[in-house]
């Protein structure tokens, strides 16, 4: 019994001793926990508070809604529509962008081209920059994606807006298009875009690349907004804390009449052609067509290589805005310039006559008239009406190239008109100094003769020819403009100065132009406007694009029909209407149209008739436009 008592006592002592040892250990651990808490919560509390803030709030930039582009009657030519799209944030993916794209491909269709592009962009952009993976998804695809989102870290669905061009090809060259900002663009577009603007990191941002979209990019794009959202650990948005919608871009009101534009485009769409219609008083451009066009919507999404090849390898060059960037020999449409210059210089009067025998000999060289047998005796009116080359050779001989150049400049040729669309070319009017400087050879008199029929070095854009017609019609130095107002702000214009040619000279040239389309035998008689109230004055033109050799003349000039398309003559026509109180001017160029009377130059008649009839309907424009009755 004694030993029975003793043993528990000794093990009790051991137990107590060791319990106290463990209690000491436990106290130490509690000390460690408390110390760690102090370190985390008091010492480093600030750091973690900041991290918690970052965790919680995610800021996303919102691309502002682009301003619309409207025609003169308020018809939206460029607008915005809903776009369901998917973005990927490389730094939030698990297992890399490629793996996430593979997983995503099981949910929604992913274009292999887009996949390659995303992978390329992912390597070039900062990893927090979201990249667009797919756009314009159907609602079904978009809904399915949202269901699978928890398994796709780094994938963000978004409802955005995309640029929409309802009239597709019709206005492609006027409006231009928008496309994603490429890495190269950030440097090359530095003139219109602020460098390092945070907006450039907005996923799917589109910037204007051509046309009005490009010129007014800074006004149309607006100011970027931001959305601050609370997100959870999986990146799912819990709620939006605040949203700054940004400022939508400014609407741009054009002077374009969409219906007129459509009418012209419809007529010319199968040709390689350009046409401009403008108000002779104000310079407002009512139509500016270049065919063939392209669908600007396709640039928004991104072109396939095939589409791109079709556009770039097409002989008709759909990407070139021919109405501003195409410089053509004006041909006989230049004869008004020669006539006005000669009248102004006093070397001829309207009654001065020259004879035409079918060719004019200067030294050893024969200068041919388009009519083999010749026109006989020609005065100014007949010279214009018959477009007699020999008449103008002899006028030009008296005039000289320098005086001709000065008058051509006064009539709007030889320099850009300043229309608000990028890419305009200035055309060209030569002079003897330029010839000497460029070719180290003196100007030849024969070259003056060639210039007098709008050939040789003389080049003009269709828009310049339209301006020429408008200046002849109004006697004022009107310049074309296509933008009426930005938002509510009307772009101020200085009223045009008189052109400086005498009324008598102008009247003589107008009489000749009127004869072209209204007197039997005139080169444009066949497509005259028969209604006297709307009657049109005009001038045809044919521009030779190849040299006709003496040998060919000997054997017979080849007909245009026998030539390859690219060697055929250009067909041109300039006109204004009505004859009494001119309102509208028009110029048409059909590339390689082969004959002056190419059926499609008749579009000028249709356009002028339509524009005048529209005035009578008295449709009220979306903004104040100087009315026809008030203008004269």
């Amino acid at each position: 019994m004694r030993s029975f008592e003793k043993k528990p006592r000794s093990r009790h002592a051991t137990f107590t001793r060791r319990s106290l040892l463990l209690s000491g250990g436990m106290t130490t651990v509690f000390g460690v926990l408390a110390g760690r808490l102090y370190q985390l919560q008091i010492e480093n509390g600030e750091i973690y508070r900041n991290q918690a803030e970052d965790n919680r709030i995610n800021q996303r930039l919102l691309a502002p809604l682009r301003g619309r582009i409207m025609d003169r009657f308020g018809v939206a030519l460029a607008g915005n529509r809903r776009n369901y799209r998917v973005l990927i944030v490389p730094e939030q993916t698990r297992g890399g962008v490629a793996a996430t794209l593979d997983a995503l491909a099981n949910v929604i269709p992913i274009d292999p081209r887009m996949r390659a592009k995303v992978l390329k962009d992912a390597s070039q952009n900062r990893s927090f920059v979201p990249l667009v993976v797919a756009e314009n998804l159907s609602w079904e695809d978009f809904a399915r994606l949202n269901l699978d989102l928890p398994y796709l870290p780094g994938v963000q669905p978004e409802v955005g807006d995309t640029r929409d061009y309802p009239y597709t090809e019709e206005l492609s060259h006027v409006l231009g298009y928008v496309a994603p900002l490429s890495v190269d663009d950030k440097a090359s577009l530095a003139d219109t875009l602020e460098v390092d603007n945070p907006l450039h990191d907005v996923p799917g941002l589109r910037v204007g690349k051509r046309g009005i979209e490009r010129t007014y990019e800074t006004s149309i794009r607006g100011r970027a907004g931001a959305s601050r959202v609370e997100v959870n650990a999986y990146g799912r948005v819990i709620r939006e804390l605040e949203r700054d919608q940004g400022t939508p871009g400014t609407d741009v009101h054009l002077t374009i009449d969409r219906e007129l534009q459509g009418l012209i485009h419809e007529k010319l769409k199968n040709d390689s052609a350009a046409c401009a219609v403008m108000d002779v008083e104000t310079g407002d451009v009512l139509a500016l067509v270049s065919t063939p066009g392209f669908d600007p919507n396709s640039f928004n999404v991104g072109l396939t290589p095939d589409q791109w090849n079709d556009l770039t390898n097409n002989d008709y060059k759909p990407l070139i805005n021919k109405v501003l960037s195409g410089a053509y020999p004006p041909g006989s449409t230049f004869k008004m310039v020669v006539a006005l210059a000669a009248l102004d210089a006093g070397v001829i009067t309207p009654e001065t006559t020259f004879s035409c025998t079918g060719a004019y000999r200067l030294g050893t060289h024969l200068f041919h008239c388009w009519k083999r047998g010749g026109h006989g005796t020609m005065n100014l009116k007949l010279g214009i009406k018959n477009s007699c080359d020999c008449y103008f050779y002899q006028v030009a001989l008296k005039l000289g190239i320098d005086a001709l150049q000065a008058s051509a400049h006064r009539l709007g040729l030889g320099q850009p008109t300043g229309i608000e669309i990028p890419g305009e070319r200035g055309g060209f009017i030569p002079d003897r100094y330029w010839k000497q400087a460029t070719f180290k050879e003196p100007w030849q008199v024969g070259e003056t003769l060639v210039a007098s029929i709008g050939q040789g070095y003389v080049l003009a854009t269709p828009l310049q020819l339209c301006t020429l017609a408008a200046r002849v019609a109004s006697g004022m130095q009107v310049t074309p403009r296509i933008v009426h107002s930005l938002g509510a702000q009307v772009i101020p214009r200085t009223p045009p100065e008189p052109i400086g040619f005498s009324a008598k000279a102008l009247a003589a040239v107008r009489e000749g132009m009127s004869a072209v389309t209204n007197e039997p035998g005139g080169t444009g008689y066949w497509w005259r406007i028969t209604d006297k109230n709307f009657a049109m004055a005009g001038k045809t033109g044919t521009a030779q694009v190849r040299v006709i050799t003496r040998a060919e003349r000997a054997t017979g000039v080849r007909t245009n029909e026998s030539l390859p398309w690219a060697l055929r003559d250009h067909s041109l026509f300039v006109a204004y209407a009505p004859i009494e109180k001119p309102r509208y001017a028009c110029a048409v160029v059909i590339e390689h149209g082969a004959v002056a009377a190419h059926p499609n130059v008749q579009v000028a008649r249709d356009a002028l008739l339509f524009a005048q009839q529209r005035d009578i309907l008295g449709r009220v424009p979306a903004y104040p436009v100087k009315s026809a009755s008030a203008s004269l």
Binding site: R36, L37, A52, R56
Partner: protein, 383 residues
């Protein structure tokens, strides 16, 4: 010749006396700690009683009744059923190995009709009881004899291996460490302790190589350098630290913890619940919780010291040490000092079985207190 161990000194005490004898300050501490848990669960659900706070309260209520019931049952009854209870718990572990369903990537649950049981939980209690009973019966010198030591070691290792196979590294470690501590308290010689330490030093690298699952290795590796995988496995650690740290001194306020409310915290209602408390109630809130836990443990050690029976002392200390181990491992884990292991914070974390285990443990602790005057004759080596 079998002698019922408690026959000699058994005397009946009225139930009312026993209830009066319950250490009510300890009960109040337990209730206060549980209330911290309710608040955190309410907050974790975004300010809602469902799905966590309400069931937790109900379970705590049942647990409290269980605690008092167990406390009033004579200590010697528990001693008597120690082995059978251990045997049942061990069988359940085998059963879960054979037919348990997969839950959370591990076989830890056994479906018994409508009940889903985690048999590793009752094992935590029955191992203490069985070890205490065994150690009660042998002297301080006997324990160091290889043959005598073999039995308790087997009692520890058998369930630990079964739990490890589930696999549940955390609970297996707890069983081993808890059991080893009881052996230590019973007077295991330092010779054994040193050799065990050396054996451990050899075993850990080989266990790493052959026994640990990939996700377990991943947890350790991630712990060592959480930044390598800040969105993957390191996420838990990083986010828990941010939650705690951003709480600062006073916290962001009740229901204002952004980390937990925005689901930045994974398993926030279970293993990482003190991150919510730290975020919303700050340093002071967590220190209050830790202080209450320390008081509970101090009470437990005290109860153990006052018990007259060796069985009672061992049970009280075993329960207290287990509680401490839970608090320590969970605390160190959430604070980013040890790898992530699936060990909840007792009384605070959401979970039915864990709550019951803790309350049964407290019941036994209280039972030792109520029956502190009871002496249990030790069947000495002579008998």
């Amino acid at each position: 010749m079998t002698v019922r161990a408690f026959d000699a000194t058994y005397r009946s005490v009225p139930l009312t006396h026993k209830l009066v004898d319950v250490q009510w300050t300890l009960v109040v501490l337990i209730v206060l700690i549980a209330c911290f848990g309710f608040a955190a669960l309410f907050s974790a659900a975004g300010g809602s009683m469902s799905p966590w706070a309400a069931p937790q309260m109900a379970r705590f209520g049942i647990g409290l009744i269980l605690l008092l019931t167990i406390a009033c049952v004579d200590l010697r009854v528990w001693m008597n059923i120690a082995y059978p209870a251990y045997a049942v718990a061990l069988l359940l572990l085998v059963a879960v190995e054979l037919m348990g369903r997969i839950g959370m990537g591990a076989q830890r649950w056994l479906e018994l009709g409508p009940l889903a049981l985690q048999p590793s939980e009752p094992m935590k209690i029955t191992l203490i009881l069985a070890l205490a009973r065994y150690l009660h019966g042998i002297g301080p010198d006997d324990i160091s004899r290889p043959l005598r030591l073999f039995v308790p070691l087997l009692m520890i290792i058998a369930p630990a291996v079964l739990v490890l196979m589930q696999p549940n590294l955390g609970t297996a470690t707890l069983l081993v460490v808890g059991g080893a501590m009881l052996l230590f308290l019973a007077g295991l010689s330092w010779k054994w302790i040193t050799s065990a330490a050396i054996a451990l030093a050899i075993a850990v690298p080989s266990a790493w190589q052959f026994l640990l699952h990939d996700y377990q290795k991943q947890r350790v590796l991630t712990f060592l350098n959480p930044d390598t995988d800040a969105l993957g496995a390191g996420w838990n650690i990083t986010q828990a630290k941010i939650a705690l740290g951003s709480g600062g001194l006073l916290g962001k306020g009740f229901l204002a913890g952004t980390q937990s409310r925005l689901n930045f915290l994974p398993e926030k209602q279970t293993d990482f619940i003190i991150a919510i408390i730290g975020e919303e109630f700050g340093f002071l809130g967590l220190m209050l919780l830790l202080g209450m836990f320390a008081a509970v443990i101090w009470n437990g050690v005290n109860i153990s010291f006052q018990a007259r029976s060796h069985f009672g002392r061992l049970v009280a200390m075993g329960v207290t040490l287990n509680l401490f181990l839970y608090i320590m491992i969970n605390g160190l884990m959430v604070m980013g000092l040890i790898p992530v292991v699936g060990i909840p914070m007792p009384l605070v974390s959401y979970g039915g079985t864990a709550m019951m285990t803790v309350m049964i443990g407290f019941g036994l602790l209280m039972c030792v207190h109520v029956h502190r005057q009871v002496t249990v004759p030790s069947p000495s080596s002579g008998i």
